[in-house]
């Protein structure tokens, strides 16, 4: 039953290109009387099955990066690819996005929220039931299957949104600060769940976060972004084994990774706040 959420395994692996998803020279400028250069130029290759996190100061274009990779926003310049095909105009099949804000549908029960995309895609009802039940169990929502989002805590609603994306069996999961509104303990535990989910689905994950420890603990690689317009100032390999969880925070290497990320972010965050690094 574990394959109920696994999408990546169904893909023809041999014919796949080296990079699962990539950004080439991507920039994003918001037009207007005073155009805002929000992002780039950015180059990024995500390997299939990789867990990649992006950290950066507030307003550096992290969310824009997700929107552009997802096809929710067009780049002003450059090329966005997913599984060898350009991403243009709409979200390609195989990409799932979890947003920072509460994106649950308040008029639907937890079950109907999670089944939303599957029903719209015309998936067989028995298969919808199977996948939704699995996702509800996987995300620890069994006691709330018939509840409405308003009856749930913020963390649980975010789980509903993650489950709603998961059942679509995305091969690339884009998460835009999904735990931003949660307390530290819940965030660590949700991080463990995210790792479990990543291993089980074998999907590629791009996580945006403002929490250095979260990035350091969860990722195979972490990209540190500059103040706006966001560019990568460091790409760092963590070297963690695939089997890992939040107990990593006690590892000696963990401190070194967060320290290196902070050294970049401190300077960039000061710039973003209008100050100069001492």
């Amino acid at each position: 039953m574990a394959d109920a959420l696994a999408g990546a395994a169904a893909l023809p692996g041999a014919a796949a290109p080296a990079a699962h998803a990539s950004l080439r020279g991507v920039t994003r400028v918001y037009p207007g009387a005073a155009p805002v250069h929000a992002l780039g130029p950015i180059d990024l290759d995500l390997a299939r099955g990789e867990f990649f996190s992006v950290v950066g100061p507030s307003g550096c274009g992290k969310s824009t990066l997700i929107d552009v990779q997802a096809g929710l926003a067009a780049p002003s310049a450059g090329e966005v690819m997913f599984e060898g095909k350009p991403v243009a105009g709409k979200v390609p099949d195989g990409i799932g996005v979890v947003f920072q804000e509460d994106a649950s549908f308040p008029w639907l029960t937890v079950t109907d929220n999670i089944a939303f995309g599957l029903r719209r895609a015309g998936v067989d009802p028995a298969e919808v039931r199977r996948r939704v039940e699995y996702a509800i169990g996987f995300m620890g929502l069994r006691d709330f299957a018939r509840a409405y989002p308003v009856q749930l805590s913020g963390g649980m609603r975010q789980r509903v949104c993650i489950a709603r994306t998961l059942v679509l069996q995305p091969r690339l999961i884009l998460l835009d600060e999904p735990f931003g509104a949660l307390d530290q303990q819940t965030r660590l535990l949700m991080g463990d769940e995210l790792l479990r989910l990543w291993r089980e689905t074998r999907a590629t994950v791009l996580l945006i976060t403002h929490a250095l420890d979260e990035a350091a603990m969860l990722s195979d690689r972490v990209g540190a972004m500059s103040a706006r317009p966001g560019r990568f100032v460091d790409l760092l390999k963590t070297g963690w084994p695939r089997e890992r969880d939040s107990s990593l925070v006690a590892e000696a290497g963990f401190g070194a990774i967060t320290a290196r990320l902070w050294s970049h972010l401190r300077a960039e965050s000061l710039k973003a706040m209008g100050g100069a690094p001492p």
Binding site: D93, F99, D102, A103, F105, W107, R120, V150, L168
Partner: protein, 253 residues
């Protein structure tokens, strides 16, 4: 007793108490029966009147006029709200008009409307529609303004087309405001059409109340007034309950 039940009990108590007080004041002669009938007499008069079938054509006339005005105002008001939401410039231009529409005495247009539509129910439909449509359009605008942009992103992530996004995401997300609009539209249509009949028409419940008033027929007048009051309250309460149900579900903690 839960808090909700206590509130309900005190509401019912207030209404029953007021009616009982009025009944006592009327029965003891403190209030002249030529001025006001006792509530029990009003109720008897209403039942007799309805059973006699004398006012059935007027009831049908008024309700059909209200129904047409209401349906038109909901359809046109929702569409107008959606168009204004999609065209911010037009919206900015019309903003002062939307904000002050309730100050327009639509009844003064009656002669023009009669000249336009003839002496039938259409001028009253137009007056009811004019009063109700803008309320519906404003509520639609409010509802659309409050649809969280992230839900539209979710729709795009699920690769929904425009129509499916509209019906599966936008309309449910704005449902509570649309319901408020319908509640207001029904109330405005009802009020303006009854008032229009009162002054301007030769048929309908409003006309019959005015006719009874002019003929010193207190029983018919108060019977009809009670009937109109009960119907208006019942319709509004139903819509209000529905609206509250939608609002409770949408309240984000």
């Amino acid at each position: 007793m839960s808090r909700g039940r206590a509130v309900l009990a005190s509401r019912v108590g207030l209404i029953v108490g007021s009616i009982a007080l009025l009944e006592i004041l009327c029965r003891t002669g403190v209030i002249n029966p030529l001025t006001l009938l006792a509530p029990s007499q009003m109720a008897v008069a209403m039942v007799d009147l309805l059973a006699s079938g004398k006012v059935t054509p007027d009831i049908e006339r008024t309700f059909s006029t209200v129904a047409i005005a209401f349906a038109l105002s909901v359809v046109v008001g929702t569409a107008a709200g959606a168009v204004l939401h999609a065209m911010p410039r037009l919206r900015r231009a019309l903003d002062p008009l939307l904000a002050s529409y309730y100050a327009v005495p639509f009844f003064v247009f009656y002669p023009v409307l009669v000249a336009f539509f003839g002496l039938n129910e259409m001028p009253l439909v137009a007056i009811g529609f004019a009063a109700a449509m803008v309320a519906m359009a404003i509520s639609t605008l409010n509802g659309l303004d409050r649809v969280p942009p992230v839900l539209i992103k979710v729709a795009r992530m699920h690769r929904l087309g425009r129509l499916r996004t509209l019906f599966l995401v936008v309309v449910p997300a704005a449902a509570a405001s649309l319901m408020t609009g319908m509640k207001l539209a029904l109330a405005y249509a009802f009020i303006s059409i009854i008032a229009g009949e009162f002054i301007l028409s030769g048929r309908g419940l409003g006309y019959q109340i005015a006719y009874a008033y002019n003929s010193f027929d207190n029983k018919t007048m108060y019977g009809l007034m009670l009937f109109v009051l009960l119907v208006a309250t019942a319709m509004n309460s139903l819509l209000h309950m529905w609206e509250q149900r939608l609002l409770r579900r949408r309240a984000r903690a």
